[in-house]
Amino acid sequence: MPRVVLALLALGLAAQVALKTTAPRPGASAEDLPPAPSIAALRLASFGEPVALAKGLMLYLQAFDYQSGSKVPYQQLDYDRVEAWLARILELDPQGQYPLLAASRLYAEVPIEAKQRSMLEFVYRQFLVDPNRRWPWLAHATVLAKHRLHDLPLALRYARAIQRSATAADVPPWAREMEAFILEDMNELEAARLVIGGYLHSGEVKDPGELRFLDGRLKELEKRARTPQK
């Protein structure tokens, strides 16, 4: 074999490695997030595998603006686009939980109130589509509304939606009872008393421990309601 050939091979390999080494590392900055395609286009692109495409798109989406060195990831993202992407992914894979986990635990955690509210409302709208499967994310949204946004009326709205729409047997009691405790926090003692009383009389509560707990709360609310507020 001519030595020129070997030298050319070595030179080509070295040049290729040098080029790739000096090139900037690929990243996904916030401004690069494109608008979400239409659901029709995505279904076409999935070639009959919408679930696989949804999983892949979710990994693609979460890579945007997530930099290990950044103090606050996601805050630069266009949240209208993020919501559109999350909605498309949910349409492709309605049973997937990843998009709503990302919405409630990643994108809603940025310290920008307008973006937090926008993402919480997205979670609320998606909850209404499938309450019995998606209630955990609205429960987290309720907690965020109460403790981060300090917006008790908003938290109450979310808690009420869970209580009325998430009716499956595996929805835990604490999720269904959030409405009553938020009303109590709002000093709406009479309303809280009515909610707990109604819940007890509905017969939905079967567990003896839960019955005792709610009964005790009811008595306490009645006592507080009789005591004049200072």
Binding site: A40, G48, E49, A52, G56, M58, L59, Q97
Partner: protein, 253 residues
């Protein structure tokens, strides 16, 4: 039918001799590694993501490997005049066709079983069994279509383009019909014509988008899948084998 069995055996041995199955194993190992990598990236539903991405990539890889093998094997046989030699045997041309098809079907079945192996740790057993059976059926259809196309077109590139187009169209036809039947504005004559053409094409294609579904591996959506998959496979195999035999009998070698 000794000729059929002998041809099937030769075809299977050719696949083993070409290290086709080793190629399949290598692709499966790579796909499994990719799924493990994605497992590290995801923050939830890691099992579902592994299953979905692994299953989708293995399905496409199996189809690609089988189609390429069928096409290149038949074209090489034709170039080496082996086809004429085999057709000169005292047996009907249909024995040649079915012998080759059975051989390719056996390769497809082995590929499907190999593809199911990396999914065993993750998927629901019933769903995996259904997915594997459906993948076997899908590969049977691909093998039959590849055999039909190569007998008609006789060259690698146009045959591969035809089979690839058929496969992608079959998998996306449901989405195309949905788009064609739901225009944003009022239905014009052109819309109705386009919709009609799409529906006509859909009549001639198998519903591959309803076969080998990832949701089965995740534990749901079985429905009457078994009946639908086997029914579609049986009907389409009869159609394509009949078309292939029609073309084979009318050719002058």
């Amino acid at each position: 039918m000794p000729v059929v069995a002998a041809l099937a055996k030769i075809t299977l041995l050719e696949a083993i001799g070409n290290r086709l199955l080793w190629l399949a194993v290598a692709i499966i190992v790579i796909a499994f590694g990719l799924a493990q990598f994605l497992n590290q990236v995801a923050i939830t539903e890691t099992r579902d993501i592994q299953i979905a991405l692994l299953a989708a990539s293995l399905r496409v890889a199996a189809v690609f490997i089988l189609a390429v093998f069928v096409i290149t094997s038949m074209v090489r046989e034709s170039s080496d005049k082996v086809t004429e030699l085999l057709l000169s045997l005292p047996a009907p041309r249909s024995h040649y066709f079915f012998g080759k098809f059975l051989g390719y079907a056996a390769v497809g079945a082995i590929l499907a079983l190999l593809c199911a192996l990396p999914l065993i740790p993750f998927a629901q057993p019933l769903g995996l069994a259904l997915w594997t059976a459906s993948l076997v059926c899908e590969l049977l259809i691909v093998a039959a279509v590849s055999l039909f196309c190569v007998l008609s077109l006789t060259q690698v590139v146009p045959t591969f383009a035809a089979v690839g187009g058929f496969y992608l169209l079959s998998r996306s036809m449901a989405a195309m019909q949905t788009i064609a039947n739901a225009p944003l504005l009022e239905h014009t004559f052109t819309d109705r014509m386009v919709s009609g053409v799409v529906d006509l094409i859909a009549l001639l294609l198998p519903s591959l988008d309803r076969m080998t579904q990832t949701t089965w591996l995740l534990g749901g959506g079985y429905g009457n899948a078994v009946v639908a998959v086997f029914g579609q496979t049986a009907i389409y195999l009869i159609l394509i084998c009949a078309a292939g035999l029609f073309d084979l009998y009318r050719k002058n070698f």
